[in-house]
Every structure is written in structure tokens, then in C-alpha cells.
């Protein structure tokens, strides 16, 4: 019986798929384009359907972790803190002024928004914007739990004030 259970367990393992991490962005994702989402429902001459733009890295753990790094590297945290907000609005919330869908967040980053959100379009490559979008959505539990780390991959602690003084050493 036990042996059977062990065999079944081993069989179950074979169904585990390692998430494929493609560290090299595809050339199509390098271009910086603008405008992923429509801002208004109303259209003259009857509404036209628009293809829904989805996040190519949605649910990808590596992309979310990269997004977290970029969130600090590009100083998003300077205004939004770690999502709680500061100079800028919080990013952990229910109601999004400009929409909380991936395409809306993409537009917000590319185009900027009134009252202080800078336009990043033309500065950072598209694949990185999608990574940041995935991270921001993960803050709101909008990404699969399995792809969202419980904590950062790296330690965030910094040394206290580094003192230059070393006894007996002149610089």
C-alpha cells in the first residue's frame, strides 16, 4: 500500500512544470508604444470593438520579481513608497482613478497622469513596463498567488550610517 502511495506521489511529481524563464526579451517587446486602452466608452458613429491588450507576462513569477526590482530602481517607490503611497497615491487599493486593468496601468506608466505622474514612454522598454504592471497588480492580489513571492528575493536592509573613521588611519 505504502509503495503504491509513494509511486503515485512520484507520478504526480512528473506533472510539475518548471516555469520557463525567458530572460531575453523578444525584439517585439522592446519598442515603446503608447496607448493600450481606450479612455472612454463613448465613440462617435457607434462604438467599435477594440482588441483587448493583455499583459504578456501575467502570472509569471520571474516577471513579478523583476517588476519589484524595477519599482525601486526607477524610483516608483520615491512617490508611491512600497505601494502604500506618499507623495503619490497608494497602489494598494480598490478604486483606480484611471483603471486598474493591465492595459490601463500600462497607459498610466507610458503616458503619465495629471498632477505629478511622469510619462515613462520612450525611456524604458516595453517589456519592463509590463513587468512593473505585473508587480503592481500583484500588490493587489490580482496576480496568481503562486507567482507572488511572500517576500522579496533579496534582503532590503541597508547598513546604518557608514562611519568613515578607522582608528589610526589617515585617508
Amino acid at each position: 500500500m505504502r509503495i503504491l502511495a509513494a509511486l503515485a506521489g512520484l507520478l504526480a511529481l512528473t506533472s510539475c512544470k518548471e516555469q520557463r524563464v525567458d530572460v531575453r526579451p523578444s525584439p517585439a517587446r522592446l519598442a515603446v508604444f503608447s496607448g493600450a486602452a481606450r479612455e472612454s466608452e463613448i465613440q462617435p458613429g457607434g462604438s467599435q470593438s477594440q482588441p483587448v491588450v493583455t499583459n504578456p507576462v501575467e502570472g509569471n513569477a520571474y516577471a513579478i520579481s523583476e517588476g519589484q526590482r524595477l519599482f525601486n530602481w526607477y524610483n516608483c517607490s520615491g512617490c508611491h513608497a512600497n505601494g502604500g503611497g506618499g507623495i503619490g497615491p497608494p497602489l494598494i487599493k480598490q478604486v483606480w482613478t484611471y483603471g486598474g486593468e493591465p492595459a490601463n496601468l500600462f497607459d498610466t506608466i507610458i503616458k503619465g497622469r495629471p498632477n505629478g505622474m511622469p510619462a515613462w514612454g520612450g525611456r524604458i522598454p516595453e517589456y519592463q513596463i509590463w513587468q512593473i504592471v505585473a508587480y503592481v497588480r500583484s500588490l493587489n492580489n490580482l496576480e496568481p498567488r503562486t507567482a507572488t513571492p511572500a517576500r522579496a528575493d533579496t534582503l532590503e536592509t541597508r547598513p546604518g550610517t557608514i562611519q568613515n573613521e578607522v582608528k589610526g588611519v589617515t585617508k
Partner: protein
């Protein structure tokens, strides 16, 4: 087969390159470690030979009439011989303990010696911060205008003790320049230190010695030991603001640099580029490697690195940019003018 065995030591000798070997010391600290290594190797080698010799002797000795019967029945020695044997084994054990204790003392004495400079006079302090996967280097100075920031290349004057103050921005790394000193870990939120001092001019390769992620193997650095006057002129050059572009190509290259994501992570003094999360490029052309000791610093390598960083160091944090092919040449021209 025998020939193959003879080749083995040859292979070993290939490990001892002139640039990265603890057995080819370039300073007093590494000399201490190397001496200890030789002391251990020679002493323990002799003991090894003695022990195996003592073991082999009975094997080749003439058979003294013990043939068909079981060994323990015929060859049990008389009580007096047993006592002699016990004394010999006891003496050998005592000598072993003494030797081990001697080795312990030698280790402690050497460990203490290499953790201190011979004299602190005229010393200097260099701060090294580990990042995935490169080294941030800052020369501390009480005069803030004399602080130099660079990456992956540490210049030191020959004969002056240098205190390396280390920490890390992300994960644990380890600073290891075998030709000068042993390893010290770089730990986030802590400051660790080691002293180095070169007693001869030369280049010493260093390597991250604590597994730190995808590109751990490509996280190298160079320590360049040079005479005091050469070091001073290097330092004075690093203190200068980056040279402004002089040719039309370089001017265009600078604009490309400032208009792409480069500007968000890198610093070039005298421009709007002031990013703090990637190596300072103000004097990029003065360094002899790029990508943390991965490639020689040439125009071709730099173009390849910028064009497709993930091909050179898969997983590294440099952004892949939507550069057009005609933009690469001016950009590289500009970067390689930053002496």
C-alpha cells in the same frame, strides 16, 4: 595510462596563473597564507609518506614461516611484545596530537597576522559594495571633493595598506582577490573589513566567492597595484568631470545615451545621467574590462554588450534597449571617449 598520470601535475600547474592564485602572493597577507599552505603541505606530505611507508614495509617483508594456519592462532605475540606494541602506538598517538596542536597554533597565528596591516600609517580606505553582479567601489576621503566612485576595478598604491570596507545591496557576496588576501563575505546591512597591501606592481584578479545568483561566475574584479605616482595620476583623472563629447558622432552618442533608459541607472558626471543602481560610467574607457571583468573593454565588445546584454550574461539586470543599429556606433564612440 602512466603518461596520463604524469600529465595531472601539469594540469595543476595551469591553475597557478600569475593573476589569480593564492600561491603566487603579491602582498604580505597573501604571503602569510601561502606560507601556511606550504607548511601544512610539506609537513603533512612527509607524515603521509612515513605512514604509508610503515604500512608497506610488512607487505614486502619476507614471510617468516606463517603460511597455512590462521594468523591469530599462530601469530599472537607474547605478552612482552604486546606491551612494546602498546607503547609504540601510544607514542605515535601522542606525536599525532602534538602535531595537530602545532598546526592549530600555526593557523591561529597566521589568521591573526593576515587580519591586520603591518602598519596603519599612510593607510587608505576603499568601500566595496556587492551588487548582482558587479562591484561598486568608492574611495573614502575626509575631503568630500576627493571621493572617487568607480566599479569593478580597484587601483591601489604599492606599499600602502588599504582597508576594504565591504557591504552588499542585495544578497551575500564574497570579496576574494587570492593574490592579495583571503575571502571576506559582503553581507547586506553589515559592514565587514579586510586589509590588503601589495608589495609589487601588477594586476590581481578577484572573483565573487559566494554563490549569489545567475551570474555569480561572471562577477569578477581587478585590483591594479601601481607605484604611488601612477596611482596619484589615476586618482586625479577619476576626480575629473567626464570629458564632454568632441566629435559630431560623440555628440550624437551622448544624446542617445541621455534619451534612453541608460540615464535612469548609470551616472556620467557633468550630464543629467545620475542613476545610482548601476556602474558609474564617467571614466568607463579608463577601465580595461566591462560587465564586471567579463569582457575586455573594446568597442566591439561594448557594442555587443549594449546590443544584447542577455546574450553575454543571461539574467543580468541591464535593460535590453530598443536601439536602432545606426545608433549603436555613435553611442559606443561616445562611451569609449570617456577616459
Amino acid at each position: 595510462m602512466k603518461r596520463a598520470a604524469w600529465c595531472l601535475p601539469l594540469l595543476l600547474s595551469a591553475c597557478a596563473g600569475p593573476q589569480q592564485s593564492a600561491l603566487d602572493p603579491g602582498g604580505s597577507h597573501a604571503q602569510g597564507t601561502a606560507n601556511l599552505w606550504w607548511f601544512f603541505s610539506v609537513l603533512l606530505g612527509i607524515i603521509f609518506l612515513l605512514v604509508f611507508g610503515a604500512w608497506l614495509v610488512p607487505l614486502f617483508r619476507r614471510n617468516r614461516g606463517v603460511d597455512s594456519q590462521l594468523l591469530e592462532q599462530t601469530h599472537r605475540p607474547p605478552a612482552a611484545t604486546e606491551w612494546t606494541l602498546a607503547k609504540r602506538v601510544g607514542a605515535a598517538s601522542g606525536v599525532t596530537v602534538l602535531i595537530l596542536f602545532g598546526l592549530l597554533v600555526a593557523s591561529i597565528v597566521t589568521g591573526h597576522a593576515v587580519s591586520q596591516p603591518q602598519s596603519r600609517a599612510n593607510g587608505m580606505v576603499v568601500e566595496v559594495t556587492g551588487n548582482q553582479w558587479w562591484w561598486y567601489v568608492r574611495y573614502l576621503n575626509d575631503d568630500a571633493s576627493r571621493i572617487v566612485v568607480t566599479a569593478n576595478e580597484i587601483h591601489i598604491p604599492v606599499g600602502r595598506p588599504v582597508l576594504i570596507r565591504e557591504t552588499s545591496n542585495d544578497v551575500i557576496h564574497s570579496f576574494w582577490v587570492p593574490g592579495l588576501q583571503g575571502k571576506t563575505d559582503l553581507i547586506p546591512s553589515r559592514v565587514t573589513t579586510q586589509w590588503i597591501e601589495a608589495n609589487q606592481a601588477g594586476r590581481f584578479r578577484g572573483q565573487c566567492a559566494e554563490f549569489c545568483g545567475l551570474q555569480h561566475a561572471h562577477m569578477a574584479l581587478w585590483v591594479v597595484a601601481e607605484p604611488e605616482d601612477k596611482f596619484e595620476s589615476w586618482m586625479n583623472n577619476q576626480l575629473k568631470t567626464a570629458v564632454p563629447p568632441s566629435t559630431p558622432d560623440q555628440v550624437q552618442g551622448q544624446q542617445i545615451f541621455l534619451n534612453h533608459a541608460c540615464v535612469l541607472c548609470h551616472t556620467i558626471s557633468g550630464t543629467t545621467a545620475a542613476g545610482q543602481v548601476a556602474p558609474d560610467l564617467s571614466h568607463l574607457a579608463s577601465r580595461f574590462t566591462i560587465a564586471a571583468g567579463t569582457l575586455p573593454n573594446t568597442k566591439g565588445n561594448l557594442a555587443g554588450w549594449i546590443g544584447d546584454p542577455q546574450a553575454v550574461k543571461p539574467g543580468n539586470h541591464m535593460a535590453t534597449l530598443p536601439l536602432r543599429s545606426e545608433e549603436v556606433q555613435p553611442l559606443v564612440d561616445y562611451l569609449e571617449s570617456l577616459q
